[in-house]
Structures are given as C-alpha cells and as structure tokens.
C-alpha cells in the first residue's frame, strides 16, 4: 500500500514538473514568435528609413534581451572580477552597443527576402532555462539558431543566441580571453571600441 502511494505521489510530482516544463516551453515559444513576427513586420515596411526601422526593432527586442547579463557572461568568470566597477560599466556599455549593432546588421540582411521562413523547433527545458531552436530559411540557405531564455523574475529573457552551432557568448568569450591573455583591461576596452579593423 505504501509502495503504491509512494509511486502515485512520484508520478504526480513528475507529471506536474513535466507540465510546468511544457507550460514554460509554450510561453517562451509564444513570446519569441510574437517578437520575431513584429520584427519582420517592421522590416517589411517600405516607407521607413533604416534608422526608423532600427528604433522600432529596438523597442520590440530590448525587453527580451538581458544585455547586461550577456556582457558579463561574455567576459566570463575569470576576467569579469579583474575589472573595476567603472571598467565594468564601460565594458558593458560598449559590448551592448556592439551586440545591438551586429544584431541589426544581420537582421536587415533578411529585409526584402519575402520567402524567408521561420520554423520553431521543440524547446529544451532544464530548470529555469528554455532553449528554443529556430530554423531560418532564406535565399536557399538554412540557418539553425537556438534562442536561449532564462526566467528572470516573472519574465523570460534571452541570455545567448546560437547561430549554426556557434554561441555568441562563447564566441566573444574566446576572443576576450585572448585579448586579456595578451594585454590589459585597457586594451580590452579599447579593442571593444575600435575593433573595426576593416578595409
């Protein structure tokens, strides 16, 4: 009898955990789909200048990106404590500016591509994190992305995006590790500002 009761209890526990996970997954999926649809809508508006588009897109996506956490994670646990509070602030500001510019740059490549399609895959849930795969089809190419969300209070926020197996956070972290291994915090802040070593 005890055994049965225990197993019933276990089943209830597990199924409610599973139910919560499923609910989280649905929430995240709905949120991301809404955001992406809104962004696409802005991109398709032909009467807006690039700057106006950018402003509107920022209004849409800023609330779901935890930029400050991303800055911290990108620098990593080894190097983050090496910055003074002032340096942390400068680092975060410059990093966020760069990430935003890069995001807008990439996303505007899809404007005008009317048959760009988004497919939402099966989300992976673990604890307070939901990883949502999204496949983008554009110009005959298939790009696999993973949007990584975590629960921040009552909201879901993005802390990383993976593009074709490459995590943005990890990519920056490896670059920052190199800069910090070869140089100083000042070099890092400077590189972040002027790394347009461009032709």
């Amino acid at each position: 009898m005890k055994k049965i009761a225990a197993s019933v209890l276990l089943i209830i526990l597990f199924s409610s955990a599973a139910a919560f996970a499923a609910k989280d997954a649905v929430e995240v999926r709905t949120l991301l789909k809404e955001k992406i649809d809104n962004v696409l809508e802005v991109l398709e508006k032909e009467n807006l200048s690039d700057r106006e588009k950018r402003g509107k897109i920022e209004e849409i996506v800023d609330p779901v990106f935890d930029y400050e956490l991303m800055a911290k994670l990108a620098l990593g646990p080894r190097n983050w404590p090496r910055l003074s509070p002032d340096q942390k602030e400068i680092f975060s500001k410059r990093f966020i500016k760069r990430v935003k510019a890069s995001y807008f740059d990439k996303i505007s490549m899809y404007s005008g591509d009317s048959d760009a399609g988004f497919e939402y895959g099966a989300p992976k849930t673990s604890g307070d994190k939901v990883h949502l795969p999204v496949t983008v089809r554009a110009a005959g190419d298939k790009i696999e992305m993973i949007y990584k969300f975590y629960r921040s209070g009552r909201q879901w926020k993005i802390y990383d995006v993976e593009v074709g197996g490459v995590s943005i956070i990890q990519s920056y972290r490896s670059q920052f590790n190199q800069v910090m291994a070869d140089g100083t915090v000042e070099d890092l802040l400077e590189d972040l500002k002027t790394a347009d070593n461009f032709q």
Binding site: G76, I90, S102, Y150, G165, Q175, N177
Partner: protein, 286 residues
C-alpha cells in the same frame, strides 16, 4: 567551394609544383603583411587616460554585479570546445594567424572583386542554379560518408535526391527533390566521419585559400577528393577552372557576409577558429 583546389592534380610533380607555388605566394605576402604591423601600444596607452577620465564621472551602479552567482547559473559556456583551462588546441597559432591574413587579402583583393563583377552581369537565379549544380556533384562524398556513419536512411535520401535532381532537375541545376518532395541534403564529409568515430580535431590549421580547418579535417579532404567527380576530369586545367568558377559563384551568393562578421569580431582569427571548431562539433553530433 570546400573542395581542395590544389591537391587534385593527377601527376605528382604537379602537386609539388602547387605546394611550392603556395609557399612562394605566402612569402611574397609575408612582407606586405608584416610591414604594417608594429605593436600600437602608444595609442592604447594614450586612450587609457581617456577611459579613466570618463569612468570617474560615472556612478558605480555595477557593484552588485560582482556576486559571482550568475556564473554558476550559466556555466555552459566553459564546457564546449573552449575548455576551462584555455582554448582550442592551437600549436601553430603564429602560422594560422598569418594564413588568416593571407586569406583575408585574397578575399578582398581577388575573390571579392571577381565575385562582384560576375554577380553584376549574371542574374541571381543563374548563380543559384550553378551553385546547385556543384552541390549535386558532391553526392558521392555525402553518400559514402553517410554510409560510413551508418546513417542509411540519409544515404538513401541522398541517392533519391541525386537521381531526381540529375534528371528532372536538369543535371542538378534545379533542386526539385527539396522543393517538391521535401528531401533535404545531408552534408557529411570524411572529417565528420572520423569525428563520429571519436577522432578529435587535433590542432587547428588554417589552409591557404580554403580557410579554417584542423589536422583531422585537412587530412580527411584527401579521401573525399577521390569521391569528387571533378577529380577525374581531364584535362586537369579544366577541373581547376571549374573549381575556381564554383568558388567565385558561391562567393557571389554571399557577398557582404564575410565583411559583416569581420566587423563584429574583436579578434578575427579567434572568432573564425572558435566558429569553425564549434560548428564542426555540432555537425559531428548531428
């Protein structure tokens, strides 16, 4: 695009010739590349003052950020190719950085102008068809490597794709298999096959013209080469010509992407290395 443009010559002497050519080419470039490269510490030092000055005016509202707890909750970024102790194994980093610069110059000085000019006179649908034609020729490589990895269903799909696209798709110019029958390509190469059987990448290695690779994937190009129809084309000049054409054509479909990625990078070489190794890791896991 990813095929080796040099190694496929039939005669041994020609292979040697090509290797010698590449090395000569690199040495010629070495001068131009290293000439403009003096460490620019003075400029950085000057800016330091500037940075400190700005910082002094700001309030320190980032203090609470130091808790460290965040890193424990998000420790996934240390478990990838980027190991805790450091980064991708890279014994040849000096050479690799240099070759990355050579490839960069080749892109801006040769490949990009050629691809832009070609794109200006060739409609997009033609270029996409050409791209599909060359992709269709990659069927033997994909088929054999799918089989070697015991992915028999995928190998079957690849075969169906090849048959449909080579006939209905007019020698691979179209892709009716994907468009109407929902049959997707499953790209696999011998480097991935070795990876599936547990062989690590070895050190990172940037190849001339071909870009980021590693020891395993570079060697794995050789068996794949024998599965490439272009390898058996005579005269070999025609095969070289077609490979160059393939490269220019595929570049013309992705103009601006290289520049866009490079603009975002803090350290372009590290970015490429990390991206390559992680992408390969993901492809091997699939």
């Amino acid at each position: 695009m990813t095929y080796c443009m040099i190694l496929h010559n039939t005669g041994k002497e020609r292979l040697l010739e090509a290797v010698v050519f590449i090395f000569l080419f690199c040495f010629v470039f070495a001068d131009t590349l290293y000439a403009g490269q003096t460490p620019d510490n003075t400029a950085a030092a000057g800016k330091q003052e500037n940075v400190k000055g700005q910082a002094g005016q700001q309030q320190n509202d980032f203090d609470g950020f130091d808790s460290g707890g965040d890193f424990d909750d998000f420790d996934e970024f240390d478990s990838g190719t980027e190991s805790r102790s450091g980064s991708v194994y890279d014994p040849l980093s000096g050479y690799n950085r240099f070759m990355t610069k050579v490839n960069d110059r080749i892109y801006f000085w040769v490949l990009k102008p050629a691809a832009s000019g070609y794109a200006a006179v060739t409609p997009g649908f033609v270029r996409k068809s050409v791209n599909r034609f060359f992709k269709n020729l990659g069927y033997p490589v994909r088929f054999v490597n799918n089989v070697l990895q015991l992915k028999f269903r995928r190998a079957g799909v690849e075969t169906a794709r090849f048959l449909v696209n080579s006939t209905v798709g007019l020698a691979g110019l179209g892709d009716p298999a994907d468009r109407w029958m929902d049959l997707e390509a499953y790209p696999e190469d011998f480097g991935q096959t070795l990876g599936v059987y547990g062989i690590g990448g070895g050190g990172h290695l940037v190849l001339p013209l071909l870009g980021p690779s590693n020891f395993r994937d570079s060697l794995a190009r050789i068996p794949d080469l024998f599965l490439d129809p272009l390898y058996y084309l005579e005269p070999s000049e025609a095969a070289i010509g077609l490979r160059v054409f393939d490269r220019v054509n595929s570049t013309s479909l992705h103009l601006g992407e290289y520049e866009s990625l490079k603009k975002d990078a803090v350290d372009w070489y590290i970015f490429l290395k990390n991206a390559y190794e992680n992408r390969r890791k993901k492809k091997i896991e699939e």
